[in-house]
């Protein structure tokens, strides 16, 4: 594939620099760490700070969710690689308004370690930190080992709910409880049709044969858990809905939010083709869609494919989801 590239080693710095210029009404760069993107209005005195972070290459995640009533500060890692503990602690400091900081991030070994170390540093600085670890990716481990599951696009709902709760003036424990309930109510699945390439590596690190698809693919080019023949969009949509809803016993009448995200190289119109079928399948199970998001919300460089996330709503989650937000990702 042909790419817009200078030196592959500079790609993350250049991405962040361009992002901060383009969205200067929403975000700023942390003056002491060029790998920390901070919401324009952060820190808000007396408000619980919301922090996230993760590897680059998932744009608009993670930086695109920095903004008002969302994430206060984002730690930025190398492509597909956790941010440093230093970037996490600098993000925590940038988000700290004196009421504690909630770090809401995805379940990956590197992020777990770097957040753990940053949390230790924050304790030394007298900043109270609590964490919620997203684990919404159904195919990455069985339900009874949910703690092992990866965090994927459900993280966006976790940030949205946590960010809205914090904006209402809730305490750190209340913010964390709502964010945890949000991720607990999320299920996601990814389907990959084509791999992606880290520019510095130069070749795809796995291949998907023509005519095949990977069910349960991860956000970092990890091969899926199942390889199948590529089917029609409707059949794929049916599979995806089946995987996420079979994992989540929802009573008829439950309202849900649905997020369909492209993985980077899938045309947006195909995402609407999937959504057309997905909403019908959800309705056929007696559930109703309160809100849908269809687009490139959480990508994986130029991977071909899509993820589907279903968030089961209750009154509080619904109210918080509907709180107005200003960030580049939504």
């Amino acid at each position: 594939m042909q790419r817009f590239l200078n030196n592959p080693d500079d790609i993350v710095d250049e991405t962040v620099a361009g992002f901060v210029k383009a969205h200067r009404d929403l975000v700023k760069l942390d003056p002491s760490n060029p790998r920390v993107v901070v919401a324009r209005n952060a820190p808000v005195k007396g408000k619980v700070g919301i922090v996230t972070g993760g590897g680059s290459g998932h744009e608009p995640a993670f930086i695109g969710y920095a903004g008002r009533n969302m994430v206060d500060a984002v730690a930025v890692g190398e492509l597909f690689s956790s941010p440093t503990a230093k970037s996490f602690i600098d993000a925590i400091k940038a988000a700290d308004g004196g009421a504690g900081v909630a770090v809401l991030y995805g379940n990956y070994a590197g992020d777990n370690m770097n957040v753990k170390m940053a949390r230790r540093m924050a304790a030394k600085d007298g900043i109270e930190v609590a964490t919620v670890v997203a684990n919404d990716d159904v195919c990455s481990a069985p339900l009874d080992e949910r703690a092992k599951r990866r965090g994927v696009a459900g993280e966006i709902f976790m940030w949205k709910i946590g960010g809205a709760k914090a904006a209402e003036g809730a305490s750190l424990s209340e913010v964390v409880a709502s964010a945890q309930r949000a991720i607990d109510a999320c299920r996601s699945v990814g389907v990959g049709l084509g791999p992606c390439t880290l520019p510095a590596v130069g070749h795809p690190n796995f291949l998907i044969e023509p005519g095949k698809m990977e069910i349960g693919i991860g956000h970092h080019g990890e091969p899926g858990t199942r390889l199948e023949d590529l089917k029609t969009a409707n059949e794929v949509a049916d599979d995806m809905v089946r995987i996420v809803l079979d994992d989540h016993d929802l009573p008829a009448g439950t309202e849900v939010a649905v997020l369909v995200s492209g993985l980077g190289a899938t045309p947006v119109n195909e995402l609407y083709v999937l959504y057309d079928r997905i909403e019908g399948q959800i309705a056929a199970r007696g559930l109703s869609v309160h809100r849908a998001y269809v687009g490139n919300y959480f990508t994986s460089l130029e991977m071909v494919g899509a993820t589907v996330t279903v968030l089961a709503l209750d009154d509080e989650l619904k109210r918080l989801l509907d709180v107005e937000t200003a960030c580049a990702g939504f």
């Binding site: 190398e78 956790s82 990455s140 590596v201 858990t225």
Partner: protein
Amino acid sequence: MTGIANEGAGAIIGEVAAVIVANKAYLSEIDGKIGDGDHGVNMAKGFGRAAERLRGGETLDAAMQVLSDVLMSEIGGSMGPLYGMMFSDMADALAGKAVIDPAAFALMLRAGLDGVQEVGEAQVGDKTLMDSLVPAVAAFEAAVAAGAGFGSALDRMKAAAAAGRDSTIDLVARIGRSSRLGERSRGVLDAGATSCCMILTALADGVAKRLV
């Protein structure tokens, strides 16, 4: 007892970095089979940057601290904190020592292993760098306890690290990104165990060639 001067031994870290940089493509290739293929890129970036910041003449612990700082504050990922803690705790164990003898080297290895265990959660058999590191440290300690000379203990450490690295081929990953693949992770070397073996081997070679 034989040993090497700590003063000036920081150059060994430059030699370790050279090995990692030379194996950048190889490490990424192994990683790409069950991971995302960036292990070599990130390792080479971290070790290469650290080597550029060495002025020459440092003690081994000072050079390890430079390397640790780069890994912890500029590299991130999983390897940043794991190797960052390893070298930081190794450096603390050597600080103030004029001579690095087998006893000091053993303490350094043990401290590095403890550092990795503090931040990570992996055990031997999980298909991680621990599969190289744990047996290597144990082999060195056992050799010293049995009265082996420094050079011979280093040789046994290298052999144990290599055997540990090779053992990961038949393992199923139980931690980290490749663990989600289950059985599909069997049959390939673990990239972390491979880079750990390279680091230990280069450290051992660096010490051995300075022994007189």
